[in-house]
């Protein structure tokens, strides 16, 4: 980040870096499974995971699971993120909101979504509603927290400037406070992306007959560890790709900060 000339080198390295990093993990994995330290039922070989993937792709479940889960993750993420940013902005800057909401939300943060599924089912049924609830609950709390926390670090000088320039509170909010807290909000959203995929597993425990999370549970029931690995890796890749997209967009939006 200092001089510009090494930038190019690192840009290339960074792009190939992902490959190197993943090749390394693959290598270790192949070694471990070839050495037969652990039973196949617990650590399947890369080859068997690959063929399980091909199997799911060929019988059409993978495509359907991906479609279904992606739409759930997207909707849950969108709801959770919008609410999280919104409430975070409110509790972060409005003392009344902070006083009323922050304690209750802080109490909720250590409570896992799975524990709330029974309640969610009563409210939303076992249809798509409860799935959106589980995903957006998890995403919401994290995005809320990061946004709220970031609000505490909005430099006073910006508020002073905007107040003396007599802009409305609404404009101040949109054009001063949000940009100033943007790096934190962005961090929250990026955490939220990963959480949306992560909570698919909990969300699809009930009332689902397809989806990555459902398939994962099924694979576990039938000790298809090869499928489990395949599905977990797919989850990882989906999350990572979505993260890269959000990060790229974020970097463009928060262009005034290096990084």
């Amino acid at each position: 980040m200092m001089a510009q000339s090494p930038h190019f080198f690192w840009r290339v390295a960074r792009q190939s870096g992902a490959v190197v990093s993943i090749l390394f993990v693959l290598l270790v994995w192949t070694l471990f499974s070839a050495l037969n330290i652990m039973p196949q039922a617990i650590l399947p070989s890369p080859a068997s995971v690959w063929s399980a993937t091909v199997e799911m792709a060929e019988n059409g479940t993978l495509g359907r699971d991906l479609t279904v889960s992606l739409s759930r993750a997207t909707i849950g993420f969108s709801i959770g993120t919008s609410l999280g940013v919104l409430v975070g902005l409110l509790t972060g800057r409005m003392a009344l909101m902070q006083v009323l909401l922050a304690p209750a939300l802080t109490l909720l943060r250590p409570i896992p979504a799975i524990a709330l599924v029974p309640l969610a089912i009563v409210w939303f049924g076992i249809g798509e509603g409860s799935k959106y609830f589980v995903i957006s609950y998890t995403v919401f709390l994290t995005v809320w927290f990061n946004t709220h926390h970031g609000m505490q670090y909005v430099p006073d000088i910006y508020l002073r400037a905007s107040r003396s320039l007599g802009v409305s509170r609404a404009r101040e909010f949109l054009t001063v406070i949000i940009p100033a807290a943007a790096p934190y909000i962005l961090a929250g959203i990026r955490l939220g992306v990963a959480l949306a995929f992560l909570s698919l597993v909990a969300a699809e425990l009930s009332g689902a007959s397809s989806g990555i999370g459902y398939r994962l549970q099924e694979a576990r029931q039938y000790i298809r560890t090869d499928r489990m690995f395949s599905l977990l890796i797919i989850l990882g890749i989906l999350g990572a790709v979505a993260d890269v997209i959000v990060q790229r967009i974020g970097q463009r939006l928060v262009h005034w900060q290096q990084g």
């Binding site: 599924v117 089912i121 099924e218 039938y222 000790i223 298809r224």
Partner: protein
């Protein structure tokens, strides 16, 4: 001798509770290290991972283990539960045809799923099966998301309580849950000896349960630390047969379960022969301590 016992505290196996309360394991010279799991499936996973010496579970996961040729063996069958139910709200049920076209909630890939399939198949009835986590079924039925549920036995009590007067059940016949003990396929000499002592202590407890059911119920209730109400416990026990054995009825059940699992399409392979299924039984330790309890062809 050390035994690591993967255990799921439950109301259906008083033999284990009695053996612990009365110190039968110590009497047999064993140091039993109890490792609790939330379900038999987790205990089974730990067994396959070599973390426990003996695992307690329902028989159903073993069928999957047989199909995927996992290195384990069943050494005893502690309890049969024959009170499996199908539950609805309002509408009474007394035959499989009543289930036609209904939305039925169950946990896929479990013995309740298998049980339901058998009931439906017995009269060739078609219904829509909805997967739900075990603990969510009651709420789904109460809300009306599903018309019928087939939950695990521990949920019967809460279902009756939640649904109140609208609770309806049908004890469809055709399936009993077996609670079994499984060990690693290639036990060392030493472990085999310990396993004999372990089963010996359970056989002793088994007799004690038969002799004094009330004391046994106290032992179980104490072990459950108040989580199940006494009436729920006695209701469960009314349909349970506590009799430690290892018989061909279990082999036949597992055989039909493997066939059903294969029909679900997640695991591919051939239906194993009954001999193959029985090759996953290890009657040796039990025959040492209670030859009359073993009844295999």
């Amino acid at each position: 001798q050390d035994i690591v016992f993967g255990w799921n505290p439950n109301p259906s196996t008083p033999q284990v509770d009695v053996a612990m309360v009365n110190g039968y394991f110590e009497d047999a010279g064993l140091d039993v290290k109890i490792v609790p799991f939330v379900s038999g499936r987790e205990a089974f996973e730990a067994l396959l991972g070599g973390q426990v010496d003996v695992a307690f579970m329902a028989e159903f996961p073993a069928a999957t283990g047989i199909l995927t040729n996992q290195p384990f063996a069943i050494v005893a069958d502690l309890t049969r539960y024959q009170g499996m139910r199908i539950i609805t709200k309002n509408e009474p049920l007394d035959s499989a045809s009543d289930l036609g076209g209904k939305r039925i909630g169950t946990s896929i890939g479990t013995n309740t799923d298998f049980y339901l399939s058998n009931v439906l198949a017995s009269e060739g009835v078609e219904a829509e099966i909805v997967n739900a986590a075990a603990s969510d079924l009651v709420a789904a039925l109460a809300r009306g998301d599903v018309d019928v549920i087939v939950p695990f036995p521990t949920y019967y009590g809460p279902a009756a309580e939640t649904l109140g007067d609208s609770y309806q059940e049908w004890r469809a016949p055709g399936y009993q849950t077996h609670y079994v003990l499984a060990v690693n396929a290639d036990m060392s000499e030493e472990k085999s000896a310990a396993m004999e002592d372990f089963l010996g202590a359970l056989v002793r407890a088994n007799a004690e349960v038969a002799a004094d059911p009330e004391a046994a119920m106290d032992a179980t209730a104490a072990a459950m630390q108040g989580i199940v109400a006494p009436e729920v416990l006695s209701d469960l026990w009314a349909d349970s047969v506590f009799d430690l054995q290892l018989g061909s009825d279990l082999a036949e059940l597992l055989h039909s379960e493997t066939e059903w699992i294969l029909s679900q399409g997640v695991i591919r392979g051939e239906v194993p022969t009954l001999e193959t299924v029985e090759s996953f039984f290890d009657p040796a330790p039990l025959s040492e301590v209670a030859p009359e309890a073993v009844d295999l062809d």
